[in-house]
Amino acid sequence: MPALRSLARRPTLWVEAMIAAAWLALLLGEGAARASSTSSSGGSWESGPLWICTTGLGGLASHGPHQAATTAPLQAASLAAGTPMWALMAVAMMAPTALPAVRHTALTSLYWRRRRAALEFLVVFLGLWTAFSVLALGPLMTLDPVGSSFALPIALAAAALWQLTPLKLRALRACHRSRPLPPRGWRASAGVADFAFHNGAACLVSCWAMMVAAAVSGPGRLLWMGAITAAITVEKLDERPRTASRRLSALLAAAAAGVALAVLLD
């Protein structure tokens, strides 16, 4: 029973439940997409988690992204309809990496506003990631090369190189910084938003390249998303930023080489 009581007291319990629900939704979406692809062309890059987006677009996206990109209004509609999917991806992939910051925010806020503070943090943090996804990843997905088999190894190789840049290291170190949280009123909310914005921006600069790789990973996307989420989470948990980023760079480079080889042999 003490274990249960301890679990119930966890200030991040509801966030962890939300992350689990997001992954469940992605899995269900994958299943539904596979079911529908058996009756159509199947195997195209837009299947899988994008199912939620494509469902939102009705029959439009089922014709593929290239046709959808042919006219500006259709593209805008595609981006708007994709927002829930990108938000879901942000919850599934980036919320786990933010758990220490959410926990810190909750525990250093006044006791009776712990949940509210955690929610405020997540709204800003995930809002940043969703905005990045809609405005950057969304348009990227409409480009022709993204459908190519080499998109994933190129993205993984680029992510491996990004890991070695000074800007990446500075951003990863900044992910470990906190900011003072005022206790009450609008200042408390503003303080949490300020912390979440700076933490989210640092996270974005640190991890954007890996998110691009996840977005262009094509068939088997859920596995790639899971692996990249785990990699980013472990990297952000590590108190030795340089070691962590270099280790992950090596992993990404090995993955890029492996995928490229598989494509060439296919």
Binding site: P2, S6, R9, P100, A101, H104, L107, T108, S109, L110, Y111, W112, R173, H176, R177, S178, R179, P180, L181, P182, P183, R184, R187, V234, K236, L237, D238, E239, R240, P241, R242, T243
Partner: protein, 469 residues
């Protein structure tokens, strides 16, 4: 069993003579030799590009005590060999400087001050604060170990040992145990010169006697509290590597150094009481670990905005939230198991200032001696601040944080009808030695010029009040 003696005891004074000769010999060795003075000092910190195992000191975490114990153990072996080489005894040990004894004990031992010539005296360092090189005593708020020994937990809210710092456990602040602040950090900052900077501190020969005393305080506390050291494998199995007397790499884990007996030495008087002859060189069994991690405190109030310290007295109001005002009073009841804590959070600054600050709650404008005593919370040194905000090597940066228990003070304020349920006043006062008749004349003359200084701003992001959950 080796026995470390107080620097002013007859054995300590004899050990200091040999120490001076050995330090002189080590200073002549090549800097690249692991047994040289320069190399040993740089293991703690260095402004230059670090060589193997250099710039490794651990502060603001639960590794502070074990890292420094292992550091001193191997350093003592190296110095002992140099002592023997310079004609000294084979059972030489590092003396400790117990400034908490007060009186003459609170001033630098004479061999570190006289002769005041770096060429002639290997223990003399000219860049120390002139007041201390002239024999001035440390203020009691700087040298006291009383608050440190009153702590109950190694890890907790107001703790002895510092917060959990495992490689895969993210933390948003570095928090030292209270002894790391007082007397450790406060003595570092007050002595000044190299001692004020973690990158230079170990070049001052007094550093090692100061840390022997900090090590003794850990041993005394362990005897008093029954070895309540961490039992997590991230602490017990964590190794630290140094060089032994032969200059070869050697390592020990934190779990291997929880008692001085495990390393074959004790202190005179022994930490557990009695005489040195009665000390049995057999380690005792640590207590069974208690289940569960320490509970997180509930925050019930905090300051708004940043507080800046620049060398002058500063006050800041801490508003207590209406939802928590009753709970604060309940927690201050003598039979209530909960404790109240004041947390000084998100401390940032470019460098360690040369001023330490005593912190008080609700200090009146015309405070009496009793007010200063009854409303005293803790002393802040900010030692190693630059390492926390811009850490060396491959470490993540953090804000610094200090927590001190405030239950007794708040109970007294309530009993003295000086309790405002809506707010507390947090008062920071620079600590300056008081002139006294038994102070050396030269030190008294240097008192004003030696301590009056402004410094680059120290930012305190928030001061908060919390209660055990």
């Amino acid at each position: 069993m080796f026995v470390r003696s107080e620097a002013r005891s007859p054995k300590g004074q004899e050990a200091l003579q040999h120490y001076a000769a050995a330090v002189g010999a080590m200073k002549k060795r090549e800097s690249s030799s692991p047994t040289s003075w320069d190399y040993q000092a740089a293991i703690h910190g260095t402004e230059s590009s670090p060589l193997s195992l250099q710039k490794q000191c651990e502060h603001e975490s639960w590794y502070f005590f074990p890292w420094h114990r292992i550091y001193l153990f191997y350093f003592e072996e190296i110095v002992r060999q140099a002592v023997v080489e310079t004609g000294g005894p084979e059972d030489w040990t590092l003396p400790y400087w117990n400034y908490d004894l007060g009186g003459e004990f609170a001033s630098l031992p004479e061999p570190f001050r006289q002769p005041a010539d770096e060429g002639e005296n290997p223990l003399y360092v000219g860049v120390r604060r002139p007041y201390y090189n002239a024999g001035g005593p440390l203020p009691e708020l700087v040298s006291t170990e009383e608050a440190a020994l009153a702590l109950r937990e190694f890890i907790g809210n107001a703790m002895f040992g510092g917060n959990n710092k495992s490689p895969h456990r993210p933390r948003f602040w570095g928090q030292s145990g209270l002894p790391e602040e007082t007397p450790h950090g406060t003595v570092h900052v007050q002595v000044g010169g190299w001692m004020r900077n973690p990158e230079e501190a170990a070049w001052d020969p007094i550093f090692w006697l100061h840390h022997a005393n900090i090590d003794r305080i850990w041993a005394v506390w362990n005897e008093k509290e029954g070895l309540p050291n961490p039992v997590e494998s991230g602490w017990t199995d964590h190794p630290f590597e140094f060089f032994d007397a032969a200059g070869n790499p050697a390592s020990k884990t934190c779990g291997e150094v929880t008692e001085t007996a495990l390393l074959g030495y004790t202190y005179d008087p022994p930490p557990g009481g009695g005489t040195v002859e009665e000390v049995v060189p057999t380690p005792t069994e640590p207590p069974e670990p208690e289940a569960g991690a320490p509970t997180e405190p509930k925050f019930v109030g905090a300051t708004e905005g940043t507080t800046i310290l620049e060398g002058e007295a500063t006050e800041v109001p801490l508003e207590i939230d209406p939802n928590g005002q009753e709970e604060v009073l309940e927690s201050a009841e003598p039979d209530d198991p909960r404790h109240l804590y004041i947390n000084i959070e998100e401390i940032r600054g470019d460098s360690t200032p040369d001023t330490v600050y005593a912190t008080y709650l609700n200090l009146p404008e015309e405070a009496s001696d009793a007010d200063y005593e009854n409303r005293y919370l803790t002393t802040l040194s900010f030692f190693g601040l630059e390492r926390t905000t811009e850490p060396a090597e491959d470490e993540a940066p953090h804000g610094m944080r200090v927590s001190a228990e405030a239950t007794e003070i708040i109970r007294r304020l309530r009993d003295e009808s000086d309790w405002d349920r809506e707010r507390l006043r947090i008062c920071f006062r620079p600590v300056v030695p008081e002139p006294s008749l038994d102070m050396p004349e030269e030190a008294r003359e240097l008192l004003d010029t030696s301590h009056a200084s402004r410094h680059s701003p120290i930012e305190i992001g928030r001061v908060s009040l919390s209660i055990d959950a």
